[in-house]
């Protein structure tokens, strides 16, 4: 009896270990890849990780991370949001236009920007979820509309050329040696992680992402959750736009343009499947950080822009080849083999 009980316990432990391995392999890859990148960086371009470099790098990484977290919410539902760049461009200009460069209008500005983002998210969400249009085309079209609105809006805001000084000063202040933008981004990330992992709302959202049909059968409002994902994406993009406007002081006509591809790359590198499913907030943040470090490293190395594009593109392809999503699939196949199933105490078929 004792022997069989101990065998059962061992199998349960092995089974649990295999499950954890399968789950974590999806998200842990980016942490390992980032560690490798930092080591490479330390060897070939150590200045990238200097305090001076970090003072610009961390705010910019946080902005990419904010946009990536929004994208992650949408990708979890099996969708994609290509209007993030347009949302950032419009919201960053709204920051300048509404604030009139005055500190006392900052709160109003933030509320207006969030309001604009909610409207954009609702439009995307309703068109995708309720009307049932293809998210790729819908969000691309909405992005185009936003680009037009921004261009038109910007002409009327030329007089208010800068963000409030309180915002532009705040972004470069460094409590504990790191920018406020970084701390704000970190707080936002932790709150989002807690929301998704530890609250009923977050759990329901994850259930929709993992298996919409099962979630629907379980009585969860799938469509409502999809709309929430698009609204969440736009709100994240608007937070990114406020930070970005603060960093560059006057956002120009199309500040969102660099954020079309980066956030999607960060989400995929972090192990989220583009067909939807579970994802990790912290891994997404780490992927955004890694991409920004890579970019900065290429700049510090002084490579010409053409070569920077090539290296950056190749790095993303390599990242996708070894992305957590693929590794999890390979591990899953391995664990399905009869030998392992027997080892884990499951009956081989």
């Amino acid at each position: 009896m004792d022997a069989s009980a101990s065998t059962g316990a061992r199998e349960r432990w092995l089974s649990s270990l295999a499950g954890s391995l399968l789950f974590s392999s999806r998200f842990v890859t980016i942490w390992i890849a980032t560690a490798v990148l930092l080591i490479v960086c330390q060897i070939i371009a150590p200045q990238t990780l200097s305090a001076d470099s970090m003072s610009t790098l961390l705010p910019l990484a946080t902005i990419v991370a904010m946009a990536a977290l929004g994208q992650m919410l949408v990708v979890m539902t099996g969708g994609i949001d290509l209007s993030i760049a347009g949302t950032i461009s419009l919201c960053a200009n709204v920051v300048v236009g509404v604030s009139h460069g005055q500190n006392d209008r900052l709160l109003t500005t933030v509320l207006v920007v969030l309001g604009v983002a909610v409207v954009i998210g609702l439009v995307n969400g309703v068109l995708v979820s309720i009307v049932g249009l293809n998210p790729l085309i819908v969000t691309l079209a909405v992005g185009l509309v936003l680009a037009g609105v921004t261009a038109n809006y910007r002409l009327g805001t030329a007089n208010e050329a800068e963000v409030p000084p309180a915002l532009s000063t705040w972004v470069f202040e460094k409590p504990l040696g790191l920018s406020w933008v970084f701390w704000a981004g970190l707080l936002f990330t932790i709150l989002l992680a807690l929301l998704l992992r530890s609250t009923p709302v977050g759990r329901r959202f994850q259930a929709v992402g993992a298996n919409p049909r099962a979630a629907w059968i379980a009585g969860i409002h799938v469509r409502r959750n999809v709309v929430v994902a698009y609204v969440g994406s736009a709100v994240c993009a608007s937070v990114a736009s406020i930070l970005l406007a603060g960093v560059i002081n006057n956002p120009g006509s199309d500040p969102g343009q660099p954020y079309l591809f980066g956030p999607i790359a960060a989400v995929v590198l972090a192990g989220t499947s583009l067909t939807g499913g579970l994802s990790s907030v912290t891994s997404t943040w780490m992927a955004a950080f890694a991409l920004t470090v890579l970019n900065q490293m290429l700049r510090v190395l002084g490579l010409n822009t053409a070569f920077q594009f090539i290296v950056f593109g190749c790095a993303i392809v390599l990242g996708m080849v070894i992305s957590g999503d693929r590794i999890a699939a390979v591990l899953g196949r391995v664990l399905q083999r009869p030998r392992f199933r027997t080892l884990l105490g499951e009956e081989a078929r």
Binding site: I248, Q296, R299
Partner: protein, 461 residues
């Protein structure tokens, strides 16, 4: 079955003649003879015309020039302070601009082109700034894409802009409109904005040809892809004048001319200042625009060639001509070279991003900067810094190039020989306390010839 014959010339199936009777060809031959005789007389008259230099003008244009032209006043005299070689009135233009207009647009007369005719065209373009213009009409035209000037003139002018989405280009547009409104013969202005879309830029030019514009000014953002469209216009005798030194095709052949800066001179001027300010040598970073643009590498090469050997170019980076790009580029450079002494760049507005990079790295702005355009945001950001060790020189943003391009095309219509290049020699000016202008919009340009009150109405209402 034999094939049914078709109608032969001169016959119809009903037996009626399609063409004229037998007497018509005789009449036509006599008309042709008359025309040839008149042509021969005209050619003889032209040949006897002596030393008239007009290469491309019509007979009508010459008549206007001769009618309007008087004696050329001596160079340096009150009537001709800038040394024009055409008399006021020739080709319908005045060549004596107000000194303040010239200095606002070009900093000094030294910037005038070395080529005589190009210089005349620039002077004519600037002289038109003094003409009164209905600002309400200008504002109306600026807000619309097509507008009637109200003069009833029979000339339609087109502005095919490759991009209109920033304040600078909107000021360019207004400069063009103000210049067009000084010509009573211009009855209609058509404007298009391709928004950096190459296909749209090409179709904009072609649609202007189809709409029957008489001349066209264009900013070739799409580069060489636009050449076939420009050639098509040129073949239809529509003068196409470009602004900016786009370095595409053969100016004078593929299109009428371009009005732009000598890019190499910009680099040489930068080098001169860096050499003077860093006699003991130092580290210099060169920042450019979008990857693959032809302008930035050209001035950078000329600057490198003219630098003292003790000046080390430690970095060359692209910025996409955006503040964000400039911030990221300078941040990378500062990481590796925290002791940077100077930078050279070609866009004033995005230089604000460079200042932000120094702020982010918490470094004092003790650097020398040479920048091509004097955009107000840079000038005001410099003033706000209040750092005497942050020494910046800027060149004129040259919004006047659009005006000059239009005047060149109008003079061509009047029969003037327009040179293939109208090259302005870029000048640099040290930024000081008075450079930041509060009477124009924050994003405006101090070197624009759009009156400050109109700039405010454009962007402030």
């Amino acid at each position: 079955m034999t094939p049914r014959p078709g109608p032969r010339p001169g016959h119809t199936r009903r037996g009626r003649e399609v063409h004229g009777g037998d007497d018509r060809p005789v009449l036509r031959r006599s008309r042709i003879a008359l025309v040839l005789a008149l042509l021969a007389i005209a050619l003889f008259a032209v040949a006897c015309g002596g030393d008239d230099e007009d290469a491309g003008g019509s007979a009508g244009g010459e008549t206007t020039a001769q009618e309007g032209g008087g004696e050329v006043a001596p160079a340096g005299s009150a009537e001709n302070p800038f040394g024009a070689t055409l008399a006021n009135g020739q080709y319908g233009e005045n060549y004596n601009p107000r000194k303040e207009d010239l200095e606002r647009a070009l900093y000094s007369a030294d910037a005038l082109p070395s080529d005589e005719m190009a210089k005349n065209i620039v002077l004519a373009g600037l002289a038109r700034v003094a003409k009164p213009v209905d600002q309400d009409k200008a504002l109306e035209c600026w807000k619309k894409n097509t507008c009637e000037t109200g003069t009833g003139g029979d000339i339609t002018v087109g502005l095919a802009d490759g991009f209109g989405g920033n304040v600078a280009r909107q000021i360019f547009k207004m400069e063009f409109i103000l210049q067009a409104l000084t010509y009573p013969e211009v009855g209609k202005i058509i404007y298009t904005d391709a928004n950096l879309d190459t296909q749209k830029a090409i179709s904009d030019v072609r649609s202007m040809i189809a709409q029957g514009v008489n001349l066209m000014v264009s900013y070739p953002d799409a580069g060489k892809a636009l050449l076939p469209a420009y050639k098509q216009a040129t073949q239809r005798d529509i003068p196409v004048a470009l602004w900016s030194n786009a370095n595409i095709g053969k100016p004078g052949v593929d299109y009428l001319t371009f009005s732009g800066q000598d890019i190499c001179t910009i680099g040489k001027n930068y080098a001169k200042i860096i050499n003077e300010e860093l006699p003991d040598g130092g580290k210099l970073a060169l920042l450019g625009g979008t990857p693959g643009n032809t302008q930035s590498p050209e001035w950078q090469k000329c600057e490198k060639d003219a630098l003292n050997p003790n000046i080390e170019v430690v970095a060359t980076a692209d910025t996409n001509w955006t503040r964000q790009g400039a911030l990221q580029a300078m941040s990378g450079i500062l990481s590796k070279h925290p002791d940077l002494d100077a930078f050279s760049y070609d866009y004033g507005d995005a230089t604000v991003g460079i200042i932000r990079a120094f702020k982010a790295a918490n470094k004092p702005l003790d650097v020398i900067g040479t920048v091509q355009s004097d955009d107000n945001p840079l000038l005001c950001a410099w003033k706000k810094e209040g750092n005497p060790d942050f020494k910046v020189w800027t060149g004129s943003a040259l919004f006047t190039q659009g005006r000059i391009a239009l005047t060149a095309a109008m003079m061509k219509k009047q029969g003037a020989p327009v040179p293939a290049e109208i090259i302005i020699q870029g000048q640099l000016s040290r930024v000081d306390e008075n450079s930041c202008r509060s009477d124009i919009p924050a994003n405006g340009s101090p070197t624009s010839l759009v009156p400050p009150e109109l700039q405010t109405r454009m962007f402030g209402e």
